[in-house]
Assembly symmetry: D2
Homo-oligomer: 384 residues x 4
């Protein structure tokens, strides 16, 4: 029933349907004193906004965010921050068709089975527009992380069968060699210049060719989003159920269309041997670190200080104009063809959603870890 809240300390509660009055989120548990304005959030909403290339839906959605509470004189007050985006561009049209049958790959049938009926307009609550609340809340989480010296970078690792050849560790090394390691946000800006958000020109070109081919055949594509987080202090994550990787897995898997998630070497670790997969500890600049990063920065569910690396697999957009077989509410088998302005691929737009869910998870666990040791409490409450 109540499944619209995520997080224990830094908690978001999202609401809203595709064609209702709006979409919003209440962010509760945000520490007081963070400088925050609407532009800080708008920047991230703009990254998920459609219509920026021919590979996303041509719907026009302004998606302007308003802060309704929790910010006073430019700073968060510690009280809940309510954010709203009013819906626009809701064409008045006949939804009779979509109301009467179950689109393959969509949640029409399961919503009907669960609740007895559904708001069928534009997918209702299961629409991709639901992610607006995640991104608005996540933008605040990212701002907090940045103030703590933590950077996130997410991008398209694969578009359909086209995968960039570099590993995340390769990319990090390359950026480090070019002295840009500490500003992942700048790298993000560069990547965002690319319509598919792929950090490799050759792959991006091939991917666009692949998508052009898909669109020609009124078909759609999936892909893989990869994320890197640097600057995370060691010690974050709560054994044994609220491990950093377990919570990331849930957060990312709760995004519609995600079908797989992995940390570090992920599924490839299953075929490696122990001697290959273990990351030896070593001393670097007087600091304990690991010589390699197969683990993706997490050991025993707790951050090790190494970059956190993860990937999410997205299925292809289920809305395709090709003819499909399905069933209507009267229990008859029918043929349908879904028209309208749909994304031929959602991966590029999903990149920022993945980043936001990861940030929300991390802020939540940073707060959870505040009192891990008695000395933390003593320092906080000034007992000597």
């Amino acid at each position: 029933m109540a499944g619209s809240t995520y997080g224990k300390h830094f908690q978001i509660t999202t609401w809203g349907e595709s064609h209702g009055k709006g979409i919003g989120v209440v962010v509760d548990g945000c520490p007081a004193g963070l400088a925050l304005c609407e532009n800080d959030i708008q920047e991230y909403l703009d990254r998920r906004k459609p219509g920026k290339s021919k590979y996303s839906t041509q719907r026009q959605e302004g998606d302007k965010v308003e802060i309704l509470s929790g910010v006073f004189e430019g700073r968060t007050t510690g009280t809940p921050i309510s954010l709203i985006v009013f819906n626009e561009d809701q064409r008045s049209r006949d939804y009779g068709d979509i109301a009467s049958y179950y689109r393959p790959g969509h949640a029409d049938y399961t919503f009907d089975e669960k609740y007895g009926f559904r708001d069928y307009r534009g997918g209702g609550r299961s629409s991709g527009r639901e992610t607006i609340g995640r991104v608005a809340g996540g933008a605040i989480a990212i701002k907090i992380l940045n103030e703590l010296g933590i950077s996130l970078l997410t991008y398209s690792r694969a578009i359909g069968p086209v995968t960039i050849p570099q590993t995340a560790n390769d990319l990090l090394s390359a950026w480090e060699r070019h002295n840009i390691y500490r500003s992942l946000h700048e790298i993000q800006e560069l990547i965002l210049g690319n319509p598919l958000y792929m950090p490799d020109k050759e792959s991006s070109k091939k991917a666009r060719e692949y998508l052009d081919e898909c669109m020609k055949h009124t078909d759609s594509a999936g892909g893989i989003v990869e994320g890197i987080i640097t600057g995370v202090p060691a010690g974050i994550g709560e054994p044994v159920f609220d491990k950093l990787d377990a919570n990331l897995a849930k957060a990312i898997f709760s995004i519609g269309a995600v079908k797989g998630f992995e940390i570090g070497d992920g599924f490839a670790a299953a075929t490696a041997k122990g001697t290959e997969n273990n990351d030896n500890f070593c001393i670097n600049n007087g600091q304990i670190t690991t010589a390699t990063n197969h683990a993706g920065g997490i050991l025993g569910g707790i951050s090790s200080g190494a970059p956190i690396i993860f990937r999410a697999a997205f299925k292809p957009t289920p809305s395709v104009a090709s003819t499909q077989q399905t069933v209507n509410k009267s229990g008859e088998e029918i043929s349908i063809s879904i028209h309208g302005r749909h994304d031929p691929i959602i991966v590029p737009r999903a990149v920022v959603v993945v980043e936001c869910m990861a940030a929300l998870t991390l802020v939540d666990l940073l707060l959870e870890n505040m009192g891990a040791k008695m000395e933390d409490l003593k320092k906080r409450y000034s007992c000597t």
Copy 2:
């Protein structure tokens, strides 16, 4: 901090370290009136017990479970069920070495960073013995599911690079053709006859050869566990954060050594096209169903009634006798070699842990869904 509780309704709280007095779990929220005795639970603990083949540690662990509360005259009372397994076979030995350095691939370093120190004996809380609490609680969840006509089956899909050729859907079809579809538990019994729990003889043979080779070189292996759940009613899972797949992802990812998780076609869906990946709805025996099951039984985070199919990737056991480089607590780089009775692969023993975590997740969401519709409340509280 408090990360040892899983579930919202059917809630387990686990405790215990590898070399402490025991390991246990409190199961809270179990419906009253379930027939339950220690043997019901012991059956599952025996499946995770080591020493059953040469591919698992030769430590002898009795792992006898005791029910301390919550059961009266053979039935659950609705009050918390406390289960305990006392630790045995705790060789008195010198842990000085292991206390002073950080084993690669283990949580030694991250526990020290988080808590300031650690119980280093046998891995303490990050030991695989921690899963005893999960299995003991999960056994009760499985019993509930069985009473509701829901069956689970888990097995080794891959051992190192050796993967069974059949998909989960292939296996289901084969079993269905042989009229054994409804008794996955019987199939499980057959698979358990095989020391690696692989449902394919040829693959199992190759996998044993691979493991023999690993052991000869004092190395270790990983693998993939696959799970199938049948009989789940449509409508289970809570949008948008407590989706069935999101909660499964968290539950499975919270098991030590898991590095990847996927549902249905998983990562393969990322390379498919929409027309290939969509499961068309059809009518079968008067029931709405899907012609294929790429989705793995979940749409929009809600069960569709089709079999739920998922996979988890396990990394190779980090404890290997080969020489490794690491760092000690004084910050010196050293060479170590880990001796003792370690599993060359944990995948076969992890199979039941995966099954139990999946069952816990499912019972929790079945309870959550009890009041999804007003008519459910009216029926329950007899208002007409």
Copy 3:
């Protein structure tokens, strides 16, 4: 930090400050299929609206509620219901004074200590306007309860030192004798005709005289709200921490200005003897019931089927125009006098807030109890 969410199943998350853009609530976990429109909610908001008698603030607040999500074609969809009331009548004025010192009896000082600063306009988040979210969410809970045959009635038991002479049980007996027992809502309507919501004419008259006296001396008054809930099935409440009385206590005590809470005979039970306080069981019309109701309808934290009776003590309004001593932010002792449009007593307006918090608690625990027995699950998921 994150303290703005109440409930586990039927969950409200409130947001908003007195002089921000608005006040709102997200209601998550509402069962699908409940008929709901804005008027259903407005009715309850109107009961807490100021300006209806000379005993409440003369501020004009329209407090018109809008449903932003979760309702489709007149029925709840099972997805989060977002409700908003935009703020009006925010006089542009100089808050310099109030910003610089700490009003006695208010949360100015504690908010500053906790968060480092505060939104001082009109009390910010600690304003009584915060209860709008509770009432909007509670109105939905009341609607659910009514559909299940459960009725709530709340009223002023005491205004300052003036207390009605009848006990709640007396009132129930009287109403029963007049055949109006089953429609507590009708009784509520009668009581609401009285400006102080006291169900006794003589007491109401004395109370108004007392308040007139208070106002003449620029002073304020407190009082006691009493609530009665009938029709609650036996079995509601979760031992040992989520008992019905414990959760009611928390819910009611979370309302600003509440300083005491009791169930049944409450503090009077402390002076009674066991033989006086025990409610003997008896058979009435073939049903098990109790001959008396000292317990207030709850035994061992679980509803017994008898009417639930509780009381909450409210302190006098802290904003008084009389001169008071206090301290400013520079640490100087100063004299102040608080002017503005303040309630000389909040008890009558708090009556509906108490009713709503009780309803929220009860719906939450009714949902929690849905799967208390294995047979409940079997019925729900049709296993035979």
Copy 4:
């Protein structure tokens, strides 16, 4: 269903029935590095142990606690602490009677209604023995509070109609004049010398006379427990639902037999005027404080730094040997008389339970508050 866990950060999960194998608690979220041994906990369990005066049951219960996990080399490790007390003195006797009817004032009927049946031996889960888990967990919370300079003191304010004449503020002033203000624990030791734990000799004598009279007539008594907490930093408590007073109310009200709870002046505040009830702020030794403490140390749900003062009303023990009317499971009205070794009053034994529940609440909210401000996070994670 799952109602046996209390706390969000410092979380206890209790289990066990009166006549099962034992009673226990899992304490999760305890900060690492707290010195802890079994004696630290035993001290508090001994305070609730029966048989210490003629005013408590003459049952002999050893109630020896064992630490099963979470402590290594004398310090907490940050992992869950499992505590167990095995049951003894379970006389083998015929419970046939008690199983077949519903004792007035007990939870027999409500447990049967909720769960379909109950463990009737000695009250099962609704027995007072359930509080062992609360006290064992609370003892750890008290140890943490003491390390932070926070002291708790609880005692009997009233036994039946006999009430001590001094207010909590009177007592605090007296102790302060005698220079013993800072060591409430020492005062507790003095009070514990008194069999009824009343901090006033004359009242204690009268109370014993009253109880002697009750016992002569095979009747029982109730009373009021009062608690004082000093040294709490300002800023603790989470608006708007997890207020310090709201959480204390729930914690205390979850103890069996509690029927009322109040903070500061409590119900008396309802009859006061605003000018009487407001606590003026003033400067004392350069610190902001209040001249009076009608509020009991909490404003807007947040601690103000002043002593926290609260009271709980306990009903008289329901088990009395006098003849009572009730109903059996066959629906027949019968007469019963309850024999056995019952407490004629539970208030003195409940004193430590109240103290423990208050301590658990406070530690939980101290942890919750750790990241209230951005600067707290920056300090903790060393960002400059």
